[in-house]
Amino acid sequence: MTALELSEIQAYLIKDYKEMGSSKYYLMQVKDATAAKKFLASVADSITHANTPINETYLNIGVTSKGLMALGYNNEENLHTFSREFREGMVTPHRQRLLGDFDSSDPSKWQWGGPANERVDLILMVFGKNDTIAENYFQSLKQKFEPGFSVVHVLNGKPLPNDREHFGFRDGISQPVIKGSNIAPAGNNNDINPGEFVLGYKNEYNIYPDAPLLKVPQGNLELLADNPDRYEDKETGKTFKDIGRNGTYFVLRQLEQNVDGYWSFLKKQTIDEHGNTNNKEATKIAAKLIGRWPSGAPLIDYPDNDPGGNSDDNSFSYIKKDKDGEKCPFGSHIRRTNPRDHFEESPPGVSLKLTRRHRIMRRVRSYGEDFIGSVENHKPNGEVGLLFGCFNANISKQFEFIQYTWANSPKFKKLYDDPDPIIGVREKPGSGVNQVFTIPQKTVNKVIPDLQRFVTVKGGAYFFFPSVSVLKFLGTI
């Protein structure tokens, strides 16, 4: 197994920084390229990499494709080696269809990252034990990055207690572990070849993922490694330098959560002939939509009741215990976005292998009030939501595949009209289209009709997270 060059890899890919009470994402724009590059060259040594000791603050940096150009990395041939998804960004007509960003989630209505918003070039991610520490750290950085950059938008995230999200569910239980990253193996098919997450290493196809190369020399080449596939210039025979090595791509989406709408909708499903709602039943339906109880306990092991507490149970699989979906519905959020041993109709062994090719390293934070919803309490003050983030080496095969093929498509598996009830429902599905959720039962399936969308996209972008050396290199172009 290849050991990862941990001192080169930005640590947020490897570690979740959950111990950090404050996560501040500064979306920035290049104002003066020379000053901006000077800042990057100097800050590279302060970047938190995977070998950085535990600290009170962490710092990571990503750039958008527009940011690369604004910095002066604008040779067409060089840019063209970056993945198409990254180059195009999150907002294109085709990508809007793939990601399902319509109606209230239309990019034209976004608060950042959309066509009506200021251009985002770079994301400065500042983490601190608490808000004050993070803020102080940011102020010290600000003195260095001005006048190279200006801040166009700030996202204030934090983990909610017990890793809950605002709807009330424990989140982020199933995470991949990158082989060779010095993190204890997770078992249960979660240990993934590094090339699924880090460029320059082999992925689950046992090949190197498509990665950016320096076709036309620029900047200080000594900071760059050779590409592992040994692609070379046809004329000079020299191998191209590798810009991607130890880097990765990051997806960020701000998802507003309508907690009140969500729980009110679920309660409405339980109204009996006397007009009374049933809280226990509403929570059970909520669990069916997710595939886990609020505590995180999986329906596969706890089909009838929430055992309570906080569960990290991630050792289950589907075929043996629930081939018909009577415990955990096929359409539930966790069963579609991580099908484990039940990928389409493939046998378990093949399923496990195929699932490993579509994983993402989730890095999520909540924003807004510290509010954990439940069937009894679902009215937060002001806007609350999730800063959904994920790392992947191939945005198309990983994040976009999960969002489109598994979440948005109502035809998932053998279903007819069932989008992912949490992240795949269309606000205005078109006339005659009924979006439903099917709960398989012993005889007659239970159907939750007229699904509504409770998540609104408020902003988003694709970033490239370079290695420490490449960040330094970008300061020399």
Partner: protein, 421 residues
């Protein structure tokens, strides 16, 4: 059982009419996308139809013979060809005239009759080399009928309150009774014929292969030593493809839950590669007709219709597919489920990622295979599907619903029946 067949017509486009043709096709495409096109669904025998402009620029690699600009017309249809052609030229007369006016040799306005139009189309007809149908025997009207039956039962089940003690058998009986009372579903009393796997043919085919093993090994070794070893390693990746081309392809993708794929490739030169390609075609054909009859082509569960067409003196090959989901998923499935099957076929075409013994390398070289697929793909000008909101799994499931409705089921079977909704 009504059989489905492929139709493909390749007609030369008049040089000075290419722009007009392109415009006319884009009007039809726009109308289809907006849902304002109303003519195609009147063609009762038409499953899928597409028009594709195939020019020199459509070829990623140097064509083996000089090629002009041609218009591809392809359909998948029910029943016999004559009826289908007659329906096409009588129902879609305006489209056919507008489009083929831009092509060489189309009858002048005064000379256009049903017969002359049909004769024109027949003149440019090309043979399909291998054909796959995801729901053999299901006609367009049957697909619509069975979906309406499924919807009706779905509503019936969900508007009734079922006592917890009601057994699956009792519910099944109640559904049957409800449907029997409804004359609209009279047709469903007749069992739908479904093609089974033809075991005898498959076993004979398997035995033949066993006998031929020594020859196959020598053949594979020969190809390996004299061909595969000399193939260059492919270095093109997805990111490096021409943006304009990819954007043109994406423009017409993911508008519906289903998508189309049109691809043109050039066979590697020489008799050996040509024979080899045809052997793989034959194999695919035998399997598609006898084994892949339950909605999966080489284990891929999302394809409605697919076909390979050798043309231009067997030097070029077209591949068409109509599938559920999107490009990334579809091509991913090709690699994950049947990389070997595809590698065998396409290893005989130019610049396919390097293979070994025709079964490894190739499609398993994911990054380069995807780039090869995209770079050989051709934009489809017009694409029609009469049931864009039904997956192939839905279609096959609907037939099972219809047939199981009429059967006497035990409790376990009745439970399976109810799970289909």
């Amino acid at each position: 059982m009504i059989k489905q067949h492929p139709l493909i017509i390749l007609s030369p486009v008049k040089k000075d009419k290419l722009e007009t043709l392109d415009k006319r096709l884009s009007v039809i495409r726009e109308n289809l996308q907006q849902g304002t096109e109303t003519e195609f669904k009147k063609v009762s025998t038409l499953h899928y139809g597409r028009w594709v402009i195939l020019s020199r620029e459509s070829f990623r690699d140097e064509p083996a013979v000089p090629v002009g600009t041609r218009l591809i017309f392809s359909t998948n249809f029910d029943g016999d060809k004559e009826t289908h052609l007659t329906e096409l030229v009588t129902v879609l007369t305006k489209y056919i005239d507008d489009i083929y006016e831009c092509c060489e040799g189309y009858p002048e306005p005064g000379a256009r009759t049903t017969e002359s139009r049909k004769n024109y189309l027949k003149k440019y007809m090309v043979k399909t080399s291998a054909f796959f149908n995801g729901a053999p025997g299901r006609s367009v009207s049957q697909i619509h009928q069975e979906e309406s039956l499924r919807e009706y039962i779905w509503k019936y089940i969900n508007t009734n309150k079922w006592d917890e003690k009601t057994t699956a058998v009792e519910i099944h009986k109640a559904i049957k009774k409800e449907i029997d009372l409804n004359p609209e579903f009279e047709w469903s009393k007749q069992k739908a014929e479904v093609q089974g796997i033809k075991w005898f043919k498959i076993i004979s085919y398997g035995l033949l292969l066993l006998i031929l093993i020594p020859i196959i090994i020598i053949w594979a070794l020969y190809i390996f030593i004299f061909h595969e070893l000399w193939n260059k390693k492919e270095t093109l990746t997805l990111s490096q493809l021409d943006d304009k081309k990819v954007n043109e392809l994406k423009k017409v993708e993911d508008l519906f839950p289903q998508n189309q794929f049109t691809q043109v490739a050039v066979l590697k030169p020489g008799l050996v590669r040509n024979i080899n390609f045809r052997i793989w075609m034959l194999r695919t054909s035998v399997l598609a007709n006898n084994v892949f009859v339950h909605g999966k082509l080489l284990n891929i569960p999302t394809i409605h219709f697919a076909r390979w067409v050798l043309f231009d003196n067997n030097k070029h090959v077209l591949f068409f597919s109509n599938f559920d989901g999107n490009w990334q998923q579809y091509l991913g499935d090709f690699i994950d489920q049947s990389g070997w099957g595809l590698t065998g076929i396409f290893s005989n075409t130019m610049n396919f990622p390097k293979t070994k013994f025709m079964i490894t390398g190739g499609a398993y070289d994911e990054e380069h295979f995807l780039a090869w697929s995209r770079s050989t793909q051709v934009p489809t000008q017009v694409w029609y599907c009469p049931y864009p909101h039904l997956s192939i799994k839905n279609i096959n499931n609907n037939t099972k619903i219809r047939n199981e409705l009429r059967m006497n089921l035990n409790e376990e079977q009745a439970k399976i029946f109810l799970k289909r909704f």
